[in-house]
């Protein structure tokens, strides 16, 4: 019994051990290469433990956490993302004169928080994971604050994230308290029975539920809780932006979906209405505002708002169709979005370092002819974000349409088509800029030779985008089986 428990929690335990090891090593020997190597190694080791976890699935590890195929999928995704971020961070901070080693400790704790979030089955672990990830992120975002020539505003971004995130944590906590006050339980899977026992619940309970939804919407940067996104994306160092866009989103989405489905909250009319409004607003505003951006990181920020809006369509569909299909779709879309974002930020990171970030649209002019490989990666990402066949993004969009049609969400589908049409414009514009003839550029960012790690991230993610787009059947089978639990 206990041995099973330990095996199930192995991923979390391994992550914790790695964090401690990285921390201790830093205390004795400051060596950027060593620490980053240790981090990647520790993350790899944690990732590989899933091989052992598989046979004893699923299991409630204490009241707080549940380890099943679903949580394992997202945990693996999170750890892969963290490895990618670590690989991007090394060259980025290489020339950074101040001590860099703590960054990796923060990365590890943030990852740990994200994994806890993905496995969460209880409001306590939900809050715990969210805070562990959030607090680490405050410091990560503001990390290069002492960089001598840093052109960006990491401190501003960090403080902005800190204040808003703390505020939403408070709101979420209050919401949890209200819900607890009415139904007397905090375990996700106990909510349905408790709800039935409690009978008709007043508006205060619903307000509590909506407060929790608002907390999740903040982390997922859905309109109207999106205000922080572009500034933080722009101000944070690229590897951290990549973390925000991938790991933090995936973890939050995993737990939100589980909460909504397991607790049957998705069947509350108020919740679906609020989600529908947020989805439509995110799709439209995200895409419209992305049109105006001249900075690629901001552009990705708005595009991520729109994409989370698309994702919400699949979640809303769960109110009418079997939850399993919705989980399958969300997982696939999140996976696709995850690889696309990581790959996209790897490209920006390939052109940048902590002294200067090449993230203006103008910096990409002629990239296709200067460095075909890096720009081919970005073109693949953009086409995938636009949902063009042969890429993972298309299969993801296919899921949205399928679930949307099945649950007859005509309004949201219309918004989706309008949003995608607008989206095409700014994706294509970036592609077009890259296809322009190169100008005579003396300080050509692409001329710098790149470390192997960044190439590896770009190659692996691009391969994943194409593979998932061309032959998605194996991944769909996997997702179908993990979704069958819902």
């Amino acid at each position: 019994m206990y041995s099973n428990l330990i095996i199930d929690l192995m991923q979390i335990i391994m992550l914790t051990i790695s964090t401690v090891v990285v921390m201790m090593t830093t205390a004795f020997k400051r060596d950027h290469g060593l620490i980053s190597g240790l981090t990647v190694f520790g993350l790899f080791a944690s990732l590989l433990t899933f091989v052992f976890i598989q046979p004893v699935l699923p299991l409630e590890a204490t009241q707080l956490l549940i380890i099943d195929e679903y949580s394992l999928f997202f945990s693996n995704l999170i750890i892969v993302g963290a490895i990618g971020v670590a690989l991007l961070a090394y060259p980025y901070f290489q020339n950074h004169n101040v001590q860099n080693e703590e960054f990796y400790i923060l990365l590890m704790t943030a990852t740990l928080g994200a994994v806890v979030l993905a496995c969460s089955n209880h409001f306590v672990s939900f809050l715990l994971g969210m805070e562990m990830m959030g607090v680490s992120l405050y410091a990560m975002i503001a990390y290069p604050v002492h960089a001598a020539k840093s052109a960006k505003f990491p401190l501003e971004a960090g403080v902005k994230y800190l204040i808003l995130s703390a505020l939403t944590s408070g709101i979420t906590l209050f919401g949890i308290a209200l819900v607890y006050a009415y139904i007397g339980t905090m375990g996700f899977d106990e909510i349905p029975t408790a709800l039935e026992a409690a009978g008709d619940l007043g508006p205060v309970f619903l307000i509590g539920v909506l407060m929790i939804v608002a907390g999740a919407a903040f982390k997922l940067s859905l309109v109207p809780f999106h205000i922080w996104t572009p500034d933080v994306y722009e101000g944070a160092p690229v590897p951290v932006t990549a973390f925000l866009a991938t790991v933090s989103k995936a973890a939050m989405l995993a737990v939100t979906l589980r909460l909504l489905l397991v607790s049957n909250a998705i069947e509350l009319n108020v919740v679906t209405t609020v989600l529908t409004v947020m989805a439509a607003a995110s799709i439209i505003f995200g895409n419209l505002l992305a049109l105006l951006q001249e900075n690629v990181k901001r552009l990705f920020a708005y595009s991520s708002i729109a994409h989370l809006g698309y994702l919400l369509v699949i979640i809303i569909a769960a109110a009418k169709i079997p939850g399993a299909l919705s989980v399958e779709g969300v997982s696939f879309y999140m996976l696709a979005y995850f690889v696309m974002s990581l790959s996209g930020f790897a490209v920006i990171s390939a052109l940048s370092n902590s002294e200067k970030e090449y993230d203006q649209l103008a910096d990409f002019r002629g990239l296709f002819w200067r460095n075909s490989w890096v720009s081919a990666v970005l073109i693949t990402v953009l086409l995938s974000l636009a949902g063009i066949p042969l890429t993972a993004g298309f299969i993801g969009k296919f899921y949205i349409f399928t679930t949307g049609v099945e649950s007859e969400l005509w309004f949201l589908l219309t918004m989706l088509i309008i949003g995608s049409a607008i989206g095409l414009y700014y994706y294509l514009r970036l592609i077009y800029i890259m296809l322009q003839p190169a100008e005579d550029d003396t300080n050509d960012p692409a001329a710098v030779s790149l470390p192997l790690g960044v190439h590896a991230v770009m190659a692996a993610m691009t391969a994943a985008i194409i593979y998932l787009g061309v032959y998605p059947a194996p991944m769909i089978d996997t997702l179908q089986s993990l979704a069958s639990a819902f």
Partner: protein
């Protein structure tokens, strides 16, 4: 499998061409030529001696299709959603594949001396567009169809955006967004269709054959049909979805215009014939008067607009829309002559429009303008070019003895039985066509050579291309029965009205 090979060869050739540029910038075009010739060889073999390729009825029986399918193959792709690789070609498909490969060769000919920069990537895009188009003409799984529908779009975007003319960004963007958005409506319609099929049978499938019999709940049929219609009408294009075409055609480099006008427009017509009407016969019958009206408006309105153009390529582009109006009219008449005429128009217009765009492109390459008021008297300096221009112009106008005449005549004949008014109005279009065509000849080739333009006459490569297209048009005009025989079984099985 032979169809899969046709597509694979083009995909592989494209990659080969791209990679070979590093070795020698001359190499990509040679590889592209070899690839297309290989495909052409296989296509000719399919037409002339299918037995050599092992094509018989066995492959059809496997799929449970005993209709008029000459070639069918199927294998699983995404079983979760009932998506499969189903490729098939019947008479109509084969005609259009032949057209595609042949015009691919022509566009290669027009690129041969014109494209000097980044040749590897250019031929990659050229071959991938062709692969996408063949995929569209052969895919019989709606998911797969949509997949190829989009695959042919992206390389074309690159061709316009990189090798296009002065206003290429706008044109490429417009082309992409029009096609992509209308494509998304089609995707939505496809999924609705699949969902309704799932509701009534409990089976997820994208197979064309299964979906043909779908029972659609009342009130939804029209909207689902409209999703398909808009996508195809945008590609065809027909008024009011034609707006992207003049920009895309005039800004694209010559090979791009050739493929756009010659082949890509035909995918829209093909979609209407193969999917829109057979999938929704009743709704389409109700919708037919509207569609025919749009066709007539296209014919007359764009003919008038064409007349007022000064940009040679824009003018030809508008005439394309006008000619495609005949296709729309013929298809929605849904009588044997009407649809046969539409098919003939598709083939003949593919040749004549491609040739005219090659001439306009050749002129632009030589004198660096498309403005007709800057030209004049070119017959004196380039007589071969003048002759070709006259030939293909009168072909486009519908001179008896050439392919376009057969097509448009049959369309008028077929639609006359359905709507006398539509046919009479469309016939006026043929008169206007003569006016705007002759004005081109007058402005460009006749009169005085005011600017003392010195134009190099057609090169050997160009002469070969034009010669081949002349032969093609003559064949269509003199012996159309050879093509009508091929498409007739297809049309019968699609449910076209045949009068005895």
């Amino acid at each position: 499998m032979i169809l899969v090979w046709l597509i694979t060869i083009l995909f592989a050739g494209g990659i080969g061409a791209w990679l070979s540029e590093k070795l020698n910038p001359e190499l990509p075009r040679v590889i592209a030529l070899a690839t297309i010739l290989l495909d052409l060889f296989l296509v000719v073999l399919m037409l002339v001696a299918p037995g050599v390729l092992g094509l018989d009825s066995a492959s059809q029986a496997e799929l449970g299709q005993t209709g008029e399918w000459l070639i069918l193959s199927s294998s699983e792709w995404i079983p979760r959603f009932g998506v499969a690789f189903i490729f098939g070609a019947d008479g109509l498909g084969l005609l259009l594949i032949t057209l595609t490969v042949f015009l691919g060769l022509m566009s290669l000919g027009s690129a041969w001396n014109e494209i000097k920069e980044r040749t590897g990537f250019f031929y990659f895009n050229l071959l991938w567009t062709l692969a996408g188009v063949i995929g569209v003409f052969t895919a019989l799984d709606l998911f797969l169809f949509f997949f190829f529908w989009e695959v042919m779009l992206i390389p074309m975007y690159f061709i316009i955006a990189i090798w296009g003319h002065e206003n290429k960004e706008y044109a490429a963007m417009k082309f992409f967004i029009f096609t992509q958005v209308s494509g998304m409506l089609m995707l939505l319609a496809i999924l609705m269709l699949v969902f309704f099929h799932y509701q009534s049978t409990g089976e997820f499938t994208f197979s064309y054959f299964d979906l043909l019999e779908t029972a659609i709940p009342d009130g939804f049929g029209f909207w689902v049909m409209l999703g398909f219609f808009i996508a195809f009408a945008t590609k065809l294009p027909t008024v009011p979805f034609h707006n992207w075409l003049p920009d895309a055609h005039s800004q694209a480099p010559t090979p791009g215009s050739v493929i756009l006008a010659g082949i890509l427009l035909k995918t829209g017509a093909y979609g209407l014939i193969r999917f829109t009407i057979p999938l929704f016969p009743e709704v389409s019958a109700d919708f037919a008067p509207t569609a025919m009206l749009l066709g007539v408006i296209s014919i007359l309105y764009t003919a008038k607009v064409a007349f007022s153009q000064n940009d040679l390529k824009r003018l030809i582009a508008y005439t394309s829309v006008s000619h495609m109006g005949f296709v729309m009219l013929g298809v929605y008449a849904w009588t044997s002559q009407g649809v046969q005429g539409a098919v003939m128009t598709m083939l003949a217009h593919g040749f004549s429009a491609a040739a005219l765009f090659m001439l306009a492109g050749g002129l632009q390459h030589r004198i660096h303008t498309r403005q007709m008021d800057k030209m004049g008297g070119l017959w004196g300096v380039a007589p071969k070019m003048g002759f070709m221009a006259v030939f293909f112009t009168v072909a486009a106008v519908g001179m008896p003895g050439l392919g376009n005449f057969i097509g448009e005549f049959l369309v008028l004949l077929g639609s006359f039985r359905i709507s006398i008014a539509a046919a009479s109005l469309a016939a006026i279009g043929m008169v206007v066509a003569a006016v705007y065509s002759l004005i081109v000849i007058q402005k460009v080739f006749h009169g005085e050579n005011k600017n003392n333009l010195v134009v190099e006459d057609l090169t050997t490569v160009e002469m070969i291309c034009f010669g081949l297209m002349m032969i093609g048009l003559l064949w269509m005009g003199m012996y159309p029965q050879s093509m009508l025989n091929m498409s007739e079984p297809t049309l019968r099985s699609l449910g076209v009205l045949f009068f005895q």
